[in-house]
Amino acid sequence: MKEMLIILVSAILVDNFVLSKFMGICPFLGVSKKIDSALGMSVAVTFVMCMATALTWPIYTFFLAPFELDYLRTVAFILIIALFVQLIEILLKKFMPPLYKSLGVYLPLITTNCAVLGVTLLNIDNTYDFAQSIVNALGAGLGFMLALILFSGVRQKMESCNVPKALQGIPITLVAAAITSVSFVGFSGVVEGLFK
């Protein structure tokens, strides 16, 4: 149990996927203008991350690893993620139109989100077992959510600021991201302190 908590907390705060591992920068910069779209995107990402891990971990462990096909994992995983996202989109559209309306628009954005492929590959690299992998995926998703929501708050404040012409648009957004990222450095000792 303690081990699970360590994985969860370090995935959310210490090794934050966006701010310290640089995965999923595109949605981080693209969908963080409004808090509600940031929330919708990160819920969809968290869901896909957990489901993708639940699918890819058994496929790697029971099909690829025993036959020494582990070099095929990038190809296999991205195919699984792409198919899964497409499937979810179709199912939601058919059976749960209200949910599709609120989450559906985010789904096509997720296939090319490197955080999803990243978390599935990372679970294999770290030799996590099934439960640990799911917890890690959940933590990565929640960390993504935290970063996106915090950052969208920062960005909304920034809209009313008078920014030098050269820094307008992307550059000032990146400076803000740098400062947000510095604030996460403060968490680096948290895990050791909490679970001594």
Partner: protein
């Protein structure tokens, strides 16, 4: 467009990182050292050229509805090949790039070029476009890596430069330094191109040819209405 124009387009006018703002994740993540930036750039160039060639060859046989999964699988295949080559011949770079080597698969530049260029043009032009875009990406990563290594460690390609003169600023090799260096570089290019970049509307900037552009645009419209 003449062949030379196609080639130069990617390096300068439409530099994937500084102007199109694509492929931000590897740009920020692996550029703590100049040599890593260069290696990542060249690996991506290889994948980009090969996938552009193959996709422009098979474009007629791929049904439109499933083209994105098809493109991604072709790209992933080449990424695996690059992984093998690096592991065998440059193991130090292989371990330095780590996970981000596999993540070349989901680099938006490659998919974007497949979508906007390779699926509409012949083999020769697509290959040239791949070389141009790849070199543009390599140039950007090399610049980022050089700035961060010189300021953050005081060395360049491992050779001590300013190490003895001034205390290296560790911030620049930290994640925050990555964001900051990219911000300053884009701001400089912004001035040089007479503020072309600040006119871009959406955060990630690379909407043209991005597979998710439609969803992204509808999101931002929704936001604007509110």
């Amino acid at each position: 467009m003449s062949n030379l124009k196609v080639l130069l387009n990617g390096i300068i006018k439409e530099n994937p990182v500084f102007v199109l703002l694509l492929g931000m994740c590897p740009t920020l993540a692996v550029t703590t050292m100049a040599v890593n930036g260069l290696g990542m750039g060249l690996a991506t160039t290889f994948v980009l050229v090969c996938s552009n060639i193959v996709i422009s060859l098979v474009k007629r046989f791929i049904p439109k509805a499933v083209r994105l999964p098809c493109f991604i699988v072709i790209i992933a295949g080449f990424v695996t090949i690059v992984g093998f080559l690096l592991q065998r011949f440059v193991p130090s770079l292989y371990s330095a790039l780590g996970l981000f080597l596999s993540l070349i698969t989901v680099n938006c530049i490659i998919l974007a070029r497949a979508e906007i260029f390779a699926s509409k043009n012949g083999v020769g032009k697509s290959a040239l476009d791949g070389v141009g875009m790849g070199l543009g990406f390599t140039l950007a990563l090399f610049l980022m890596g050089s700035v961060r290594e010189i300021l953050g460690v005081g060395t360049w390609f491992g050779i001590a430069l300013t190490k003895q003169l001034i205390e290296p600023m560790k911030l620049f090799v930290s994640p925050a330094g990555g964001f900051f260096t990219l911000a300053v570089l884009i701001a400089i290019i912004n001035i040089l191109t007479k503020y072309k970049i600040s006119k871009k509307k959406i955060g990630c900037g690379g909407c043209e040819g991005c597979p998710s552009a439609e969803a992204c645009a509808s999101l931002n419209e929704e936001g604007d209405e509110k």
